[in-house]
Symmetry: C2
Subunit: 371 residues, 2 copies
């Protein structure tokens, strides 16, 4: 990515639609539907006791010694839509790690830009006044917490907390790895009914500036804005989406089958597509997010960590794994992974083998003249 997009300085109610669409495309089928996040943020903006805008801080402008934490939702996205949050979950988690550590949080950073977790930090910002960093820990969405760049690049877990809508707060200290925190917090989230709000870890501004995917809030807003305005301006939404994120069309066709299993807390399955004008087929395997796109002749077109995004062929609007159904006309986009999630260190955690695939990661190459 790292394309030139207008830099975001504040988020107001006018940005919500664009941010939601952009975040859902970057969510690669998972990451939680932004709808609940948009509703939460709209409610806060409309409430007189909260500000009308949220301040966004560029990673270069973050003081090196600022205390930054990530806040968001954890658990099954499908549950997140039904077991409605009351909006205080992440703030309570934030309070808990502040109390346990004796530190005060100065800024918030999204753990992932894909899906609802790009919007939750904005809600917490509206409630606490802390600005949100224009960056995130994944540049997309991934299903497990050790898969963010903060932990890939060895930030200690130090303090973490999760909370639910009933006011239960679980705080974690002294956990020696992100994988262990994932185990602890996943079990806690399941006990909370499958969805919780989190805050972790406590990082310095300089660490966040160096170890996050930068300007992704700006990118999400621009991507959503371009897709939403393309039709009105008589441009092709998929062309503008590819151009904005530096992606390419992998396949266009109709959904011929969707297999879904709920396994170990994940929405796992396989999507089958058939071309509209020929015998070609494509399967896309997913575990919350779309992981591998494989053509009928066996050729692998894209794998994690590259982004596989599925959008409506005509509108360019994103289609999450739970919304897939027979007969939809869709386009599958491939977007090269941001550099920080495609290094050797990162591939151990978010490459195909981390998801159980015996596949080598062949980085997707997109020619810029393909747009």
């Amino acid at each position: 990515m790292n394309f030139d997009v207008p830099q975001i300085e504040t988020v107001t109610v006018d940005d919500l639609e664009a941010l939601g669409v952009g975040a859902a495309i970057l969510g690669t089928g998972g990451g939680g539907h932004p709808r609940v996040g948009k509703l939460r943020l709209r409610t806060l903006f409309e409430d007189d006791q909260y500000p009308d805008a949220v301040e966004i801080v560029h990673p270069d402008d973050l003081p090196a010694d600022a205390t930054v934490t990530s806040v968001g939702g954890m658990g099954a996205p499908t549950i997140g839509v039904e077991k409605f949050p009351n909006g205080a979950e992440e703030v309570r988690s934030l309070d808990a790690i502040e109390a346990a550590s004796g530190r005060t949080v100065d800024a918030l950073v999204p753990g992932e830009i894909g899906g609802v977790n790009s919007l939750v930090p904005l809600c917490v910002s509206a409630m606490t006044g802390s600005p949100v960093v224009d960056a995130d820990g994944m540049g997309r969405a991934f299903p497990e917490l050790q898969m963010d760049t903060f932990f890939i690049y060895d930030h200690p877990v130090n303090y973490a907390a999760i909370s639910d809508e009933r006011g239960n707060v679980l705080t974690y200290e002294g956990v020696d790895s992100a994988v262990r925190l994932e185990e602890f917090a996943r079990a806690g989230t399941v006990d909370m009914g499958g969805r919780a709000g989190y805050a972790f870890p406590l990082m310095d501004g300089s660490f966040v500036a160096d170890n996050s995917i930068r300007e992704t809030l700006s990118l999400a807003r621009e991507l959503g804005h371009e897709v939403l305005t393309a039709q009105r301006d008589d441009r092709n939404p998929i062309d503008v989406a590819c151009r904005t994120v530096g992606g390419t069309r992998l396949f266009t066709g109709k959904v011929t089958d969707v297999l879904r299993r709920n396994e170990a807390g994940f929405a796992t399955g396989e999507l089958s597509l058939a071309a509209l004008d020929g015998p070609a087929t494509l399967t896309v395997e997913f575990q919350n997010e779309y992981l591998v796109a494989r053509r009928g002749d066996g050729k692998v077109l894209a794998t994690v960590p590259d982004l596989i995004c599925i959008v409506d062929r005509d509108t360019g609007l994103p289609i999450t794994t739970d919304a897939l159904r027979y007969g939809q006309r869709v386009t599958v986009l491939g977007v090269p992974a941001p550099e920080l999630i495609a290094t050797e260190e990162a591939l151990d955690v978010v490459g195909p083998s981390a998801f159980g695939y015996d596949l080598t990661y062949n980085p997707l190459v997109v020619e810029s003249d393909s747009w």
Copy 2:
């Protein structure tokens, strides 16, 4: 119980054997073996940086506004013997609830007197200097945390924490019932490998004085002392045990069978006994602790919350469920439950139905002339 026993004012290395034996008898087959607790406490007493004695405070002498918490081990007792604690688990949990609440703990109280959890608060006392209340929350051992008198008599959960030997600390706030805390903390304990040290809840001295089983450290020490010295003094150990705790012999025989299952984190099973001098038989069902003693003709001799204790027929030393084996000669003792765990409120939580039995609790009646 509530028998006149010499009041304990301090615990030194000389009390360890007696306390361990008494606690294991009152553990009714479960509660965790006191061996690990005795080793921990002996090590502390022998270490120059810790005192040679632990101060015991009578519940009547506890200031009404003192802050008191319960500390101990949680999880499968069998794991507690193999996954050795490093001794800092409960202190770390204590630190975590102090940090989360902003309160300072003035005194400790055992959550249960049966088994290892009578000794763990003494270890924490040696390390922190806080005295231990001569009382506990069960008057015996029970397998789940909502089964102590503090929660039976409606103390809020407020703050709770568990920690393991690797330094992981999980803190719980805002949990609305002890049953929910049991779920959360049980899952956390399982994630920690099946054994953790806990601290919860934060109580006032007056609440502890009114809602605990009193003078049970004194009782445990006296019971152990009497059993250990009986043979030397040519007294019958079982007679002196019955007299000390107000109990009675239910059955004497040999072990003819032991069925054991590990179910949902509990050691569940059934013990069969045959009389040595006739056709009579007895079965004792257990779930960590001995729950129901039933004669071969179907007559129920005792059920929870009354204490069913199994001891060696000759020495009077306790036999825990995991130590049962074919051929042992044992005596089954019945001891009437302390009043606070036999009220209507308590029976909902610790009566036969709470363990899945379709049995009415018929309080065991012991004639004092039976000793």
